[in-house]
Symmetry: C3
Amino acid sequence: MFEARLTQGKVFKQLIEALKDLVQEANIDCSDDEMSIQAMDNSHVALVAVSLRSGGFDHFRCDRPISLGFNATNMGKILKCAGNDDIITLKAEDDGDSLALVFESPGQDRIADFELKLMDIDSEQLGIPDTEYKCTIQMPSGEFQRIIRDMQVLGDTLTISCTKEGVKFHVAGDLGAGNVLIRQNNTAEKDEDKVMIDMQEPVELTFALRYLNFFTKATSLGPTVILSMSPEVPVVVEYPIGETGYIKYYLAPKIDEDED
Amino acid sequence: MFEARLTQGKVFKQLIEALKDLVQEANIDCSDDEMSIQAMDNSHVALVAVSLRSGGFDHFRCDRPISLGFNATNMGKILKCAGNDDIITLKAEDDGDSLALVFESPGQDRIADFELKLMDIDSEQLGIPDTEYKCTIQMPSGEFQRIIRDMQVLGDTLTISCTKEGVKFHVAGDLGAGNVLIRQNNTAEKDEDKVMIDMQEPVELTFALRYLNFFTKATSLGPTVILSMSPEVPVVVEYPIGETGYIKYYLAPKIDEDED
Amino acid sequence: MFEARLTQGKVFKQLIEALKDLVQEANIDCSDDEMSIQAMDNSHVALVAVSLRSGGFDHFRCDRPISLGFNATNMGKILKCAGNDDIITLKAEDDGDSLALVFESPGQDRIADFELKLMDIDSEQLGIPDTEYKCTIQMPSGEFQRIIRDMQVLGDTLTISCTKEGVKFHVAGDLGAGNVLIRQNNTAEKDEDKVMIDMQEPVELTFALRYLNFFTKATSLGPTVILSMSPEVPVVVEYPIGETGYIKYYLAPKIDEDED
């Protein structure tokens, strides 16, 4: 028996929103200390990893580890029926073939329950090595979203360069070129407005904008995004979810063929 | 000569909005005590009936009964030109072939007048028998709209079951099943938030969601909807319009072929 | 070297918005006292003329007259990347083949710079004669936009008649006819709500609504529009831009073939 109750139900709603365009099918893996999702995108270029610690739920019970295979589009359709203030409870029997989703309105005068058919999904959990990154950039998630959206106007490929002074985003295409420079800013009043750069050595990497754009669907999950970069390894784009967990996206950089 | 002036012109605007997707052509029937519309939907499955009492108008004059046949799409196009605060006046000559619509802005510095060409429409008025219903449910119209919208995600057919405890809406489809339970609630502070169930015996009926969805276009006309149900007869979905009148939709239930 | 810095950068953004659906390619002509654009629409029916005086910029330097040929769609794409509060600076070398656009956020923690490729565009500047008009109508730009939008529902052609009492807009089509009357109103509290008619003799002209609709894309540039009309000459639809300049559209009236 698995049962997890989330007063702030919209977090789960937003999580599924944040991966449904990238991932078609995935497993929710439940253990007694967390609920997690790990999946490659449909073209096996990007990886998404979600973790919600059991302590972040109002009620969490998982008798034995269970994998719940779901279709993300269908899950998203059902979650559209949950109000933003609803309490969401997930329930599954150990040998069941469906996931129950219960949405309670705050005043409890409206209770909706849905059954989503589950499916068997083959997926090996990738062990993601704990890496030390050369650059870690924390910045407002809305700002990052805007840059990605703006840059797509000009081209398909984004170069991110991190130096002590700031982070430079560069794109070039047929109609011209564009650069956005975000400066280190430790003094903003609110933590979430800060731009904090932790750099051991400068890093410059190039990515497909199309994937970065998918990642920014997670913007609603929190005010902050953290980019971790080292030469020749995948960038990690992490959106912390309050004290509860995170959604992380991994994307390999493009190999510069004949750039300097 | 027919002339009717409505200070709250947006009521007429919303009424036409509420039927134009369901009904292609209809007559406005005017007598000295009311302005009414009755029409079947294009596929002759649902019936819509509108009544605005003459007392609800600021000025109402109807020398002799008159039927004004109109195309609902065209009427809707012209009404898009009326502001939400405009005063709307309808005028027709006894033997004219057009309806004049005059829209006055509240400050009267803007006066727009439109002529809509009328058409001859054959339609017999159906006598709708005054029925005693086994269940009458009054609930917030916005809540009803949301349930209908949500349920469409999962299937085409909605089962409404009314018991003393509340009203259950049920849908089932390929990706799973869903239920929403609305509980009786007489104690809400505002009348319009109340859910009031008047039940002589439990009733369960099944309907095509597609039509219920058309009906919810009337949601903007008022905060409340009233569902009246008896076994094997059409449901009435009524939106009262202040003290002025109502729009009622009638829809026959689906015959359960091999359900229990 | 040309360099122009506009604290209220959104003016330039809105200007390009206001012409990009009408004009595919145009020159920005810079001299030491103004930045101007003049272009025919793609089908050579309407003319648009923009002028921003050098005094309206925070910084303006133009060493020698220069013409910067641009594609309006591409320029529009780049300007979508500018925030509404951004400071916009335009820069071009005398012999360069690109225009640099720099967008600074108000707090200067975000600097974006773009390069737009320039093109050679043949265009003769039309000398527009200074005409005395028989009627000049100043009215709220939002009101004018709404009339044009509403009238398009009914037909393709708009007749504007100006008399002392007010301005009448008339349209007729298959589904009926419509008129909007705007009355002279000198007494509105705010200048921008005033309707002021300066008339030497009544004028009635007929125009293609399609073009008038293009012109109303300039509505966001200011609260006021000024229509100048004389018989048988193009109407001027002018949107003043604060103290800085204007955008003017010229459109020839339709010849009435057999109207009275």
